[in-house]
Point group: C2
Chain length 344, copies 2
DNA sequence: TTGAAAGCGCTAACAC
DNA sequence: GTGTTAGCGCTTTCAA
């Protein structure tokens, strides 16, 4: 790599000190009362030599790198990819660049990424925390590292966090099903203590309760994140065995669960919504192609990302220990999969 | 943010110089013949104080940051998100971290990202180049910056580049359609001079020629990247107006074009493959849900990403000016959308 | 066997 | 007005 030109190179060429060059190139010629002639010459030479500041050196000097670390569960999942896209944009607007990594919902990877990013002196972190990572997050808090959790948080930990109003979203979805005549709505969710799932499940249960329907444990399937595809298929087999279906409607707690479920429903020839009402959390391109367009809960990713970056910036700038919790509303996009049940 | 512990802190606590601490913590105690007692004490104290090296400082010292910049067209596009995922993994294996950004196929954004990343002293770049960015890429070459183009390249520019064998892939797809009895296969592609599109179109034309079918300019639609959705719909209107269809089969040159096209076909009630044979370049979850599963060309993203990272590492390490061009084969995954045409 | 010191590129307080 | 210098954290040469 060709040697980059430094302040020193310019200083030598012009015949002044690096200090002057620094002042001028940082627009501080006025404060530093740099001579007009010198300033002019410096600017000219800097342009000629195509000077570009070394941000690493500046970072070392200031202890600030204008870099943030983004840790998502899996960047190849469209949901997180979209978050990443918006965060990138918001960060860039504020002069920040983004390092990213995928935790794969694994504690060890999460810790490695956190360490790597901190050693690279990021100014802050945006994290979708992994189940069981409380201690990792707490350590960040103890160290005073600016960070914000996104998509999910820990109820027992006070932190900056930006999440959808998961309870509310799921509550409304289930209510919609019940209003449309479904009597036994079930749910397939991930088996994790993380708040986003817990809240969605709570919303589901509360909707039942408020509708005078007694929750039946057999209506709920919790699948592990690893090998979720097989587990989802198995769960559907249990919930929908033909002699006496356990449920007459299902809400899927994430888009990955939805896509896999729809494949299985399709393969089994189960008709939606005649045989089964369906609502999904999060959207997917495939929903338009299912023969009955799928009703889904649409999170406001823009708002989530904006708020996350903004919270993080505040944390970085103010250095306070005040934590902000932001809850973002979502909407239900109605397809046909939740249509009114024909009373048999 | 709590002050991080530095070599100096440890040195003071132990009562030695920072040099010793540096040797020991870098495993150079043998070469530097550090006393055993001192080494032991240093390690102990470092562990106690939970020392973490400042990679920024190291980067400044060595002129090497172990960071690579990844510039894709749009990280929220599943195709690029998947590339990013694998690149992240491969980079990490080699001790590198990834900065990312989306160019949005815009020259200016591309240039900004390149500048930002270079100023942050990345060791190299992986880029999906934007149409018309030859000069940007050439400048990188002139500066001796290690980089590799991915997904597409410039025929007139010798660079490191890793791409699918686009000509071959498209050639085989069109041949398949023709073998299955389609007489007038058309194509919808992006209107760009980038090699990936040019090669796909050339593959399409060559397949026609080798099959003794004369290419008809009306069979091809080129849509601009911006507002592609409207343009794709309009193109389909032209290609498929009911009184005398212009084509009897279509290949879609990217998955975004495919998804949009399938929506339009669905809306118009055009039957696949009875009314129209279909093959797509790149995959999508939606293909399984279209009533006739879509035949598609599956690129080997793993191989592309691995090769890209490997080429880049070589470039970084060897500092030579030898450029490598890697072409990766793809496969056709057969659905029903390209099934044998029933002769009327 | 250990320490002092220079230097990576940049900034800013201070001296001239 | 301009230059000198110290220092951010780390590595490494050279001298002790």
């Amino acid at each position: 790599m060709q040697k980059r030109v430094s302040l020193k190179d310019i200083a030598e060429k012009v015949g002044v000190s690096t200090a002057l060059v620094s002042y001028v190139l940082n627009g501080k010629e006025k404060e530093a009362r740099v001579g007009e002639a010198a300033a002019k010459k410096i600017k000219k030479v800097a342009a000629e030599m195509n000077y570009q500041p070394n941000l690493i050196a500046r970072g070392l000097k200031f202890g600030k790198t204008h870099t943030i670390g983004l840790i998502v569960a899996d960047i190849s999942n469209p949901f997180f990819a979209m978050l990443a896209r918006i965060i990138e944009l918001e960060a860039q607007k504020r002069g920040y660049t983004v390092l990213f990594g995928s935790s794969d919902e694994q504690l060890e990877k999460s810790q490695n990424l956190i360490n790597t990013f901190l050693n690279r002196q990021v100014d802050g972190l945006i994290i979708t925390p992994v189940a069981g990572s409380q201690s990792q997050i707490e350590e960040l808090r103890n160290k005073g590292v600016p960070f914000v959790l996104i998509d999910r948080g820990f109820s027992e930990l006070e932190t900056n966090v930006v999440v959808t109003d998961n309870h509310d979203a799921m509550y409304n979805a289930v209510k919609l099903l019940i209003r449309n005549g479904y009597k036994k709505p079930g749910i397939i969710a991930y088996d994790t203590p993380l708040t986003h799932m817990a809240d969605r499940i709570a919303g589901y249960k509360d909707a039942l309760k408020d509708s005078g329907i007694r929750f039946n444990a057999r209506w709920m399937a919790k699948v592990p994140y690893g090998n979720y595809k097989e587990h989802v298929t198995a769960a559907l087999d249990r919930l929908l065995n033909t002699n006496g279906r356990v449920v007459d409607a299902l809400v899927f707690a994430t888009n990955s669960i939805s896509v896999q479920s729809l494949k299985a429903l399709h393969a089994r020839g189960i008709r939606v919504p005649q045989d089964l009402g369906v609502i999904s959390f999060d959207e997917s391109d495939v929903f338009d192609f299912f023969y009955a367009p799928i009703t889904y809960i649409k999170q406001n990713l823009q708002a989530i990302s904006e708020n996350a970056v903004q919270s993080l910036m505040q944390s970085i700038d103010s250095r306070t220990r005040k934590y902000i919790r932001v809850t973002v509303p979502s909407v239900i996009i109605k397809g046909e999969s939740s249509n009114r049940r024909k009373t048999p």
